[in-house]
């Protein structure tokens, strides 16, 4: 019972990272394809403004996912990190370069240096979700069974590659939807059009990849495929499609802000469908939730800690997002930290 509850919390955390982190990766995706320094300046500024206050918080979900994995399901954690070694190493390296690139670009003035930092940020915004997606695909296809050591076949197979590409497309979709809403918020009508087009395109890409994915998983990921096309799993998939369609419509209206909620819902519902389809396995057909679960007492404590933390972190997150969407959060400019000096000297 406890193990099931913790498994659901883990799935929720994965969904939160896919949405929160996904929006940021998507912003990085569009940063990469924004064009040269001049052409891409305005989209990049918008991306930067939108991301800066929240990207670190969104990143913490990943740490929470890892901790839930090793405390709640130590055997699962061991299996995944042994089997999915190469993509997870590459994702970790990508995370470093991406975060550092983004943070260091801001206080840098010279164009050449900012280009380097920006490139590190943007390229890794593509690579990191790809490798994380590939690892997830490997898990879904049952290849991360306990005792399996890392080999190319385990993570470089059709399911993993499609899952990685799907992850990129989904982040691009989320990013574009949120940036459309941000562009309206900051009063930039032409950027609304710019990102709206990209949101639609990436949604089409997601759809195409999902269809390819279904045909691939049918052969290689039979258990999850069956779960996604039957019963409760199918219902969640259909709801997700409905949410994606609603997003496509809402983003064309004068209130693209609402599209943010539906886009997040569509991604979260797919993750939920995946979780439902995998039941009762963590690694399909070889490791169940019960088999992988840690000792009962730590699991109960983990739920207690999670509950206490929800009370602490929930309001803090609401505060952050509220302040952010109300335009109360804004980076200090160099002028802020430079101009005061002369007054201070007197």
């Amino acid at each position: 019972m406890t193990a099931d509850a913790v498994a659901w919390i883990l799935l929720l955390a994965v969904a939160a990272y896919a949405c929160g982190g996904g929006i940021d990766y998507g912003a990085g995706f569009w940063d990469l394809f924004a064009g040269g320094a001049e052409r891409g300046e305005r989209p990049r500024r918008l991306i930067d403004h939108a991301m800066a206050p929240v990207w670190e918080t969104n990143n913490v979900w990943l740490v929470f996912v890892l901790i839930l994995m090793w405390t709640g399901f130590p055997v699962f954690f061991e299996a995944v990190f042994s089997a999915m070694w190469p993509p997870l190493v590459l994702a970790a390296v990508g995370l470093v370069l991406r975060g550092a690139g983004f943070a260091l670009r801001k206080p840098t003035r010279r164009l050449a240096r900012r280009r380097i930092y920006g490139a590190a940020f943007a390229v890794c915004s593509l690579l990191t979700p790809f490798f994380l997606g590939a690892a997830a695909g490997g898990v879904a296809s049952g290849r991360a069974a306990p005792g399996v050591t890392a080999s190319a076949e385990v993570w470089a197979n059709a399911t993993s590659v499609v899952a990685g590409l799907l992850a990129i497309a989904a982040t691009a979709f989320l990013g574009a939807v949120f940036l459309t809403a941000d562009a309206r918020r900051f009063g930039e009508p032409d950027l609304v059009v710019y990102f709206r087009l990209r949101a639609w395109c990436s949604l089409v890409a997601v759809g195409v990849l999902a269809l390819i994915g279904l045909s691939v998983t049918r052969k290689h990921t039979t258990y999850v495929y069956h779960g996604l096309t039957h019963g409760f799993g199918l219902l969640l998939v259909l709801l997700s499609i409905a949410a994606a369609a609603a997003t496509a419509l809402l983003i064309g209206t004068h209130a693209p802000g609402w599209a943010r909620y539906t886009s997040v819902a569509s991604v979260a519902l797919v993750i939920a469908a995946w979780g439902v389809a995998q039941r009762p396995y963590l690694v399909p057909t070889s490791l169940t939730v019960q088999q992988a679960a840690g000792a009962t007492k730590p699991l109960q404590w983990l739920m207690l800690v999670t509950a206490i933390a929800l009370v602490l972190v929930g309001p803090a997150l609401v505060l952050l997002y509220r302040l952010d969407t109300h335009g109360m959060l804004e980076a200090q400019t160099d002028a802020d930290v430079e101009r005061g000096a002369a007054q201070g000297q007197r």
């Binding site: 954690f77 404590w301 000096a341």
Partner: protein, 495 residues
């Protein structure tokens, strides 16, 4: 340990690169941890002063320190995330077997980290639009969240040093887990307070050291004086306290991890009247080459009496204790830490003496030279303390329960060496860029303080990277820009 020796002792070949990689990533991450834990507190102290006394100099310091905090926190968060990946990438068997026993500390840490990420974003980006006191109070949770995060991390590390809270079943797997016992292990208290105080005093000396350099270069204005005094006072007050905490943790190790104590003090045979060696190298036959030998002192330090019996390394089989090379390393780092710590006390007393007598800074240039050095020296002590505790525990990853070699990943040595190479290159670039960016920021501030205009080499786009957001109709209606930001129309605003 050379790879030849590793092969001879039957260790898997991937052990060496895995250990090197973990040592490298932890060793670099820990360099910026002091600032992460304590810089928000130090900044809030000057921030409070600025608001309370309407002091523009203090306000400028707080603003600039928070600009540094932004970059530092980002680098800390990414290198910290890598560490949690490495638990799985390098030591999957430790997590597979013990993850549920000691993982809860990390659960607490994750939520603390969450709070930190939220409130640091609010604090860093709240300067322009939040009301001054609201902004200050939203920063106050930061040091508390940092203390909570340290609680989780040190709890896990202390558990690895003195594991408890479980029994082993017939197959050697942990059962009957008691979470309270696994969190509050015998080494937890001593490690936690020693660590927290180390972080605060290191951050204090590092920040003060930067202004000491400015002072030595002739910039003796109020800005530099305040920038020096606030962090230095915090560090100076904590230094004597740390002396007692350090002494306490050494004695706790003597009682609870006698073999680690033997390594840190290079004690070969168990006995009384044990001499203290300052430095020196432990030889395979148990003798000590070089170093300064002080008769009986080790027994006196461990138990206040020359008759105190100190356990030696030979009390356990050779395979269960650090090698002579590891013991020598732990001993040197231990001695360096203790020496620097003692020297810092003298510096703190010097400062305290002048302050009591004249209510002013010491006048000697030598004081400021030492203060500048204290910043670097205290970072060295943090690094040394970490090496002592981690190397002194060898060959155990979970003391007396699991060897490092049993925890290591089955991934091939070649793959690990490749990863090590990639990580070193990436970290050198990232840390190099981090230091470069902070130095360039400080140089820009210096130019601004001297009233120099910005040099023409800066291109048009480089003016202010990201100007203020255009005001929302609601925000505009809500009121004029706060008194903290007289320059709402800063150059580079979005068109």
């Amino acid at each position: 340990m050379s790879s030849a020796a590793a092969l001879a002792s039957g260790d898997p070949s991937q052990l060496l690169p895995a250990r090197q990689l973990m040592a490298f990533t932890l060793g670099t991450h820990i360099l910026i941890v002091p600032l992460g834990v304590a810089l928000p507190f130090i900044t809030l102290v000057v921030h409070y002063r600025a608001l309370r006394k309407n002091d523009p100099v203090a306000l400028l310091l707080a603003r600039r320190w928070s600009a540094v905090m932004a970059v530092q926190f980002a680098v800390g968060i990414v290198t910290g995330t890598v560490l949690s990946f490495e638990f799985g990438l390098l030591w999957p068997r430790m997590m597979g077997r013990w993850g549920d026993v000691f993982g809860l500390g990390f659960g607490i840490e994750a939520w603390a980290f969450f709070l930190e990420a939220v409130f640091i974003a609010v604090y860093l980006y709240g300067w322009r639009r939040l009301k001054p006191w609201t902004h200050f109070w939203l920063g106050v949770p930061l040091p508390l969240a940092a203390l909570m995060g340290a609680f989780g991390i040190i709890g896990a590390n202390a558990w690895m040093n003195t594991p408890q809270g479980f029994t082993l079943d017939a197959a050697g797997r942990p059962v009957n887990v008691s979470v309270q016992q696994a969190v509050f292990t015998p080494m937890f208290g001593p490690q936690y307070w020693h660590f927290v105080v180390a972080m605060y005093l290191t951050a204090g000396y590092v920040v003060a050291g930067i202004y000491a350099v400015g002072w030595l270069r002739g910039r003796r204005d109020r800005y530099h004086k305040l920038g020096f005094c606030v962090p230095f006072t915090i560090a100076a007050v904590l230094t004597p306290l740390q002396f007692f905490l350090g002494d306490d943790i050494a004695r706790q190790i003597f009682h609870k991890q006698p073999v680690k104590f033997a390594a840190a003090e290079i004690v070969w045979d168990t006995g009384t009247h044990v001499p203290e060696y300052l430095f020196g190298r432990l030889q395979p036959d148990g003798t000590v080459k070089g170093g300064l030998k002080i008769p009986d002192l080790n027994s006196i330090l461990a138990g206040f009496s020359r008759d105190t019996q100190v356990t030696g390394l030979t009390s356990v089989p050779a395979a269960d204790r650090p090698t002579t090379a590891e013991a020598t390393l732990a001993h040197w780092t231990f001695d360096i830490m203790a020496m620097i710590g003692s020297a810092l006390i003298l510096l703190a007393l010097w400062y305290g003496w002048c302050w009591l007598r004249r209510r002013d800074l010491p006048r000697s240039r030598w004081f400021f030279r030492c203060a500048a050095l204290a910043g670097a020296a205290s970072v060295v002590t943090v690094e040394c303390g970490w090496i002592t505790t981690e190397v002194g525990r060898q060959p155990w990853i979970v003391y007396r329960n699991m060897r490092v070699s049993d925890a290591v990943t089955p991934t091939s040595a070649a793959a690990l060496w490749t990863m090590f190479g990639i990580v070193v290159v990436v970290y050198v670039l990232v840390f190099g860029a981090f230091v470069g960016v902070v130095l360039r920021m400080s140089r820009r501030w210096q130019r601004a303080d001297l009233g120099l205009v910005r040099p023409a080499e800066d291109g048009p786009e480089t003016d202010t990277p990201y100007g203020p957001r255009p005001e929302l109709p609601a925000a505009r209606a809500a009121g004029a820009p706060s008194p903290q930001s007289p320059d709402a129309s800063a150059p580079g605003s979005m068109r």
